[in-house]
Amino acid sequence: MTHFTRRRFLKAAGIGGASAVVGFGAASSVAKASKNAHVIVIGGGSGGATAAKYLKRFSPDLNVTLIEPHATYHTCYGSNWVVGGHAQMDDIAQTYDALQSRHGVKVVQDTVTGIDPDARTVKTAGGETMKYDRLVVSPGIDFRYDNIEGITEADSESVPHAWKAGEQTMILRRQLEAMPDGGVFVMVVPGNPFRCPPGPYERAAMVAHYFQKEKPKSKIIILDNKENFSKQGLFMSGWKEHYGDMIEWVPSSRGGMVEEVDVANLTAISDAGFNEFKADVLNYVPAQQAGKVAQDAGLAVGHWCPVNQMTFESRVHRGIYVIGDASIAGAMPKSGHSANGQGKVAAAAVVRDLAGLEPKSAPTANTCYSLITPDHAISVAGIYVFEPGEREWEDGQMVLVPGSGGVSPADAPATTRQLESIYTKGWYDGITADIWG
């Protein structure tokens, strides 16, 4: 991938060198206790790749195997910029070279087809059975079409979701490029909880930015299955400032709760047929659930996986940690930044557990930047900490530290918005280096 920002000058010599296995020189007792222990990580996305890397950082003697089917992972972050035409797929591509060569993670390109929590084994599509001492599961999301008529996953070639980056991102981009000026782009957005709460509204802005330059007579309609959304005030004033009335947001109470999709006619239907929205390009973002492998292993209760939110160990099966979008993480949003933090929390918890140490909690953080134009960004941040409940960890939750975080100020000058757009790109380069670098 190319970096969006320039590499900083390095003060300390040796950092960033390509060959050495980097660790913090961990600790003999931890190392001994976990020597030869095998931790398998399922999924090389935001959560899983972080967990694999930090397991080796915290305990270099551990054997860590990361199982991921793709040789190249495309981040969802930045994919809205590709949809809007000012970044390319190569810019959001990540690989597993550094995890293997710098950090000593064994990366296996395969798909896990089953987990046996009693035997502590995983089976893969490639026909392997691997034994683990601890398992970290970060499979992200799968889509649900059980709450909608007329559309299934098989339709995502013509009605893309573009909510997992890769081929889907390109399908949506190509459709927008082929759309005539004066066309209507309709985006259907699910109710909470879902991956990346500000994502749909950043996408609307990025598409508007493209339309304004290339197809100024076009319209954007967001059909939303909720009454309010992340950073709403900042998005709405930013849309207005840069795009006038191009973007129309329709909440659930005014026809945004889509019940049926007519795929052949690119039409979204709500309120028992009372409202019909005809699109030239239709982007249907389905409701979501924990990735299939977690569902199949019984790790989910309902659609998501309950965990001890201090350690992210599953509340269903001991020895298995579920992180990222698939987990129920209290007040933490389903974001790449949250998944990255949870990867570190789980890595520390696994290492402590293998060393026979009591679990420990520490605050973690989330930041989500969104672009409204390439030079106008807004952010939301939060610091989260585990708060025990009446039954200690069992009903404890990750809560927002009171008074921390929040959104960019409503009255900030253009220079602040521009600074935040520079940090948006810096955030991308920083977090991807932290996960895959």
Partner: protein, 102 residues
């Protein structure tokens, strides 16, 4: 103000000493590591990106800057909101931990 800072720095000196007393054996999964590694998401430790590089940053200055973000005396786009989530003890642990990264 200056006096308060001095007092505070004295307090840090004490805490840092206390931290140094923690058995080296488990230092990598102790609280300081668990708090501070979250900073790396934006402040990459391998020189990538455009956020300030905190590797090798003087611990007392890091603590002072974080306190100033927290009380609003140092303007920021986002660090002020982030600093509000942490305690003085957290800042001390961050400063100390960044100093251990090579």
């Amino acid at each position: 103000m200056m006096k308060a800072v001095n007092l505070f720095l004295a307090a840090i000196a004490v805490s840092v000493t206390a931290l140094a007393g923690v058995s080296q054996a488990v230092a990598d999964v102790e609280r300081a590591a668990m708090v501070t590694t979250h900073c790396f998401a934006c402040h990459s430790i391998d020189g990538t990106g455009n956020m300030p590089n905190l590797v090798g940053y003087p611990p007392d200055i890091l603590v002072m800057q974080m306190r100033m973000f927290k009380d609003g005396s140092r303007p920021a786009t986002i660090m002020n909101r982030i600093a509000l989530g942490y305690t003085d003890e957290d800042f001390v642990q961050m400063g100390e931990y960044f100093g251990t990264i090579k």
